[in-house]
Amino acid sequence: MNGWKFAWQSLWQNARVNASIALGVVISTAVLVGALLVGDSVKASLRSLTLERLGAIDQMLVSDHFFASDVAVKIEQREGFKQYFHSAAPVIFLPNVAAEKVDSNHKYRSPGVTLLGIDNSFWQQTQSSVQPTRSLSGQQVILNQSLAGQLHVKQGDLITLRLEQVTDVAADSPLADKQDRARSLVRLEVVQVLPDSGLAKFGISPSQQTSLNAFVPTDVLQDALEQTDKINAVLVVGNDARRTSPDATRWLSSNLPISSDDATLTVKRIDLTHFDESQNKEAASNSYISVSTEKMMFPESAQRAIQAAFPADQLQPVLAYLANSIHKVGVREAANRIPYSIACAIDSNQQIGPLLDESGQAIALAANQIVLNSWAANDLGVQVGDELEIEYFLPETAHGQTETATTKLTLGAIVPIVEPETPYQRQRPAKYVVDRPWTNDPDLTPTVTGVTDQESIDDWDPPFPFDYGAIRKPKDEDYWDQYRTTPKAFVSLETGQKLWGSRFGQVTSFRLPRTGEDQLQNVQATLTQVVQENAAAFGFRVIPVKANGLAASSGTTPFNGLFLGFSMFIIASAIMLLALLFKLAVEQRATETGTLLAIGLSRPQVTSLYLKEGLLISVVGAILGVVFGVAYAAVMIYGLNTWWVDAVSTSFLRLHVTPTSMMVGGVCGVLVAMLTIWFALRALRHISVTRLMSGQTSDDSPTSVTVNLRRRKSVARFTAILALALAATGFFLTAEAQAGAFFGCGACVLTSLLVRFGTLIRRAAVGTSRTVFSTGHLVVRNISRNPSRSTLTVGLMASACFLIVAISAFRLRPTDQGTGGFRLVAKASHPIFVDLSSADVRQDEFGSDADKLDAVQVVSLRYQGGDDASCRNLYQSSQPQLLGVTDALVRRYDAETAERFQWAGAESTEGNNPWRLLSTRTATPDDQPIPVILDKNTAMYSLHLYGGVGEEFEMDYDLGQPVRFKVVALLSNSVLQGSLLISEGDLLHLFPRIGGYRFFLIDCPAESKSAVTEMLEDRFSDQGLEATDSAAILSDLLAVQNTYLSTFQSLGGLGLLLGTLGITAVQLRNVWERRSELALLRATGFASRRIGGLILIEHLTLLLFGLGIGVAAALLTVLPHMVAGGASVPWGTLAIIFGLIVLVGVVTGQLAVKQAVRMPIVQQLRAD
């Protein structure tokens, strides 16, 4: 015989009670394993989703402009390609397209569609698990099921897609077209609707929402966008569909076969020719190499890269700009104002001028000087030293509105310009017969579509406000005919960049002096190298889509921890059940314990025997628990896909079982059980051997009872005082701090009530005789028979009940503070360039309906697309979307009367308007972090920023270096959740090419919400504008938290149910212990039914006391919130839960009753 053998035999000897203990272990282990598996399943499902929608696509080369489609082939041809990749597919990738069904009766629209221009090889090359059965041709489109569902279309239906016109010129430049930016693919026939599977739901945004995808032939899209043989993305397919490596990204990034052409650079030799009559042929008077960009201006990063590649003295930057008017100061007459001239900012050099004096020396201009060509000087009748006024458009626009500025400069020199022998005729250039000076150069000016490519001024279709009346005919027409875009004025580069430099760039072209015949090729080769080495600077990005997706699939929310929390009550109940059952088992075996001690075993030895037995039970229970844990996880996953789908937005979760979690859960289950058993055994350490031998396991000596009563009284008093203090504090707090204070208050009340309950039943136990002695008194006495057990039982019920009800204080409802007083939030697929708050614009856009918008305020915000960092997105966000907060929004909250957002925290600010904190930065974003405002939920749950206000963090937006932010304020439960809010200036500094506005906050009377929505959506359907009730958006966002609370409450209810079973187990034990008493009662004339009633009343009394104390304490917690309208206790659900618990209590109580009345009286009387 040894300890294990003893334990083994005891195990079987007490098989029934041990089986019930094992049940407790099964439950706790199952819940632990289940929670871990839920976490694993969420991660694995996100990972599966990523892999499914990317197929074998590993990397994606994207660009902010179109480039030659043969880049895909060139990538494949690169040496080393096959080591990392399988193939490369050219595509056109347009993520913000608006779709609508062509239907006369209904308007089914869908903004935010991803349009892919593909060829037939797309599905094979990308190894998609879904293949269309029809090949695309002509005006045909394939949709995925999600998009088809939104548009209510089926095969054979016709749809229209609205795309944003591709322009290389930055949209907010006054020289960019803002009016006609939508391109439509009309009446596309839906040839197939693919199920939402495989590449049919292709998407690179980390979101569990299915991307709304449309697929059209590449050439159709190229035609519509006038981008023949061009694409804007290459999908690079990996060798292994399930794996990726950083080496692959590095290899691709350093092996991009892109040329200077692909980077929109134009390198050409400029010959300022004239006809040399002596040689009877065209001869170059002057010649140089020009590097320009189709983007009109070089982005600063590209400018820096180019300048670094060439010697500074060789490369001459040029900034050409449009001067609306050049005139002498004070002149108003149109006849004396030169309209629409090109002014060129350039620092001349001796080699290529363009400003050279008579001795051939470069003319250096002072900052306040201007040089005119002789034509302009003659026209204005000015002389060197005269002061001129230059009118020009500010280089950046807002809401599409150009603004004119004026500067005064002194005429520093007049440079010659020679007249051509024959003017320009259509595409044929002007013909000169004499040497052309450097200033006779129309190529100093970049191409402006609709202007520089037109035959006459009458044909101009300029993107900027153009005053035809200012054109002086025929004088200005003649200049156009003879010189086209030849600049009339020159300023220093510094002056020009100061006046016309912008976020879009500081240079329109570079000039290089000619050095040889093969120079052009050399410059092109150098630029190609520059582009390849600085691809990001020229708008190219290699996105490791698979690696990013897999990294993001680690998720924002640790669901294993979350569900461990949700299942806390089940675990707690299981542990308490386990403790109760084990304690009962030990009590039942008290005599055995006493005997073992009496015969000489030490207490540790006896404890060791029980622990060995407990270990055997725990291991068996844990093994079963692991099996049931998988089932529990399956139920939770089912719940998340159905009942609690609001927490995960969409039903995409699948159960993934991982051995590690099963192992960890199982081992934890055993450890928890062993700890519980050890604690249960500790309770026996002070019980004397004689008491144990007589079957007693409690020390109820009068001294100990008195001491305990006194101690309990103190605890009750202390917790009551603490509750009062917390309640008083709570009234001075707000939001979650207030909820926390009242939660603490409720918890103190709960403790106080429980201690009071314990004291009462202990008092009842020592009470004196009464005149009236009733069944009620008997029930009270029976409950007080084992005060610890009864208090523990009531405590379990009350605690669970308290938390389930009190947690509803944290349920959220949409409030005006959550929406900041805005009733609608609108988002557009394409930017809108008009100011919707302007009365004039409304008149233009809506005509006679404009007055319907009189009471409507629209605040437009700049938008930089990125990850949705709201709690609805389960993927880990690495590049959250950004909103540029305009002055209009900031000013709105200066007014005391404005309905404000609720703040979770903010740095101190004047005027109590935290929005003002966004513009407090004094240095550039490169030197100082960008002030940012974000929703607290976004900060904590999505971005894991726990430092609150003042915390600094970095985000990598592929801008060459990470962007540093500093949290200046935190919104509380707002409609702006999911975005980083920075000042408009900072946003444009980071993303200079953002044009127009895509995010709108709309304040309108409640009754006109529908009308305003309809008006805006109709008018801006081409831009894919969609307005949504902000309360609905907020409800959706809050639904996540509320659903988590519901989950907690449901699982808490389950735990409570388990607690009810625990009470039943205790009751059964009580009945067993009292079997002789009950037999005596029957002997003295109590009918079985009466006995049964007595047992049931005792059982329900404990149950109802538990529920009552819990609810009472919880109500104190939620009361202030209920009064303030913040808490919405789900009474219906709670009534069902508690009703079910009482019902289960009654049913299981019947077990105790049955046991009580089934026991034969005679045997029980004898057995005692």
């Binding site: 009470g767 005149t771 004339g1085």
Partner: protein, 231 residues
């Protein structure tokens, strides 16, 4: 006409082979105010007989009439009420409810009919006074000695003024002094305080049995009268 009539009462228990006969043709009659003792070796069926008389168990054969009623013809509820009204038990182990005080324990039989009243309390106190525990009304069983507990159980048995007081080895767990005291107490109370009560005592104690008006010996399943005093 006797108040208690046992006629050819037999009791057997089924076993795997053949029924185990415990009692056979036991007949007995008693009138109010009478008392008797049943003696016999362990396992002879004394307690079984007492439990049958007390309606806690039913006879296999024969019949019992108590105060003109055959209790085994009653349904469970009526039987409980009958027992409550007519029978009082004193067990070898007192079977007191440890969560109740002495007086509350005594009141238990009254509780079967509903809440107790002041008269009930007075009677309980009076009974406890009679058994010598008037000063320990509010004491719990844990605070009483073995003899005191048995006295409480006697008081409890008499609470409803039963027709029949059954005592199963009432002194079995007590020392000789206490046993004699309890035995005498039983007889005194029955004779003086509750003269309308019949007292049937099952005991090993010849001393206690000797105090009774009649003694019977249960031997070989049959009840044989041994002595009868002339009182």
């Amino acid at each position: 006409m006797s108040d208690l009539v046992l006629k050819d009462v037999g009791k057997s228990f089924p076993t795997q082979t053949e029924p185990l006969q415990i009692l056979e043709n036991v007949s007995l009659e008693m009138k109010r105010g009478q008392n008797l003792a049943i003696l016999g070796p362990s396992g002879s069926g004394k307690s079984t007989l007492l439990q049958i008389v007390g309606t806690l168990d039913s006879p296999t054969t024969g019949s019992i009439q108590l105060c003109g009623t055959n209790p085994f013809e009653l349904d469970e509820r009526a039987l409980a009420a009958f027992r409550n009204k007519n029978i009082g038990f004193v067990f070898q182990d007192h079977h007191l409810l440890k969560q109740l005080s002495a007086v509350e324990n005594v009141l238990i039989p009254r509780l079967a009919e509903g809440p107790t009243n002041a008269q009930d309390l007075d009677r309980a106190k009076s009974l406890l006074d009679q058994v010598g525990l008037g000063h320990r009304l509010d004491h719990r069983p844990g605070e009483l000695s073995g003899g005191e507990r048995q006295r409480v159980s006697i008081a409890r048995a008499l609470m409803n003024r039963p027709s029949l007081l059954l005592a199963d080895e009432p002194t079995g767990n007590l020392d000789q002094v206490n046993a004699e005291l309890i035995g005498q107490l039983l007889i005194d109370i029955q004779q003086k305080a509750e003269p309308a009560t019949m007292l049937m005592v099952v005991t090993h104690s010849p001393t206690l049995a000797a105090c009774m008006q009649r003694t019977y010996q249960l031997n070989h399943r049959r009840l044989v009268k041994q002595t009868e005093s002339k009182q």
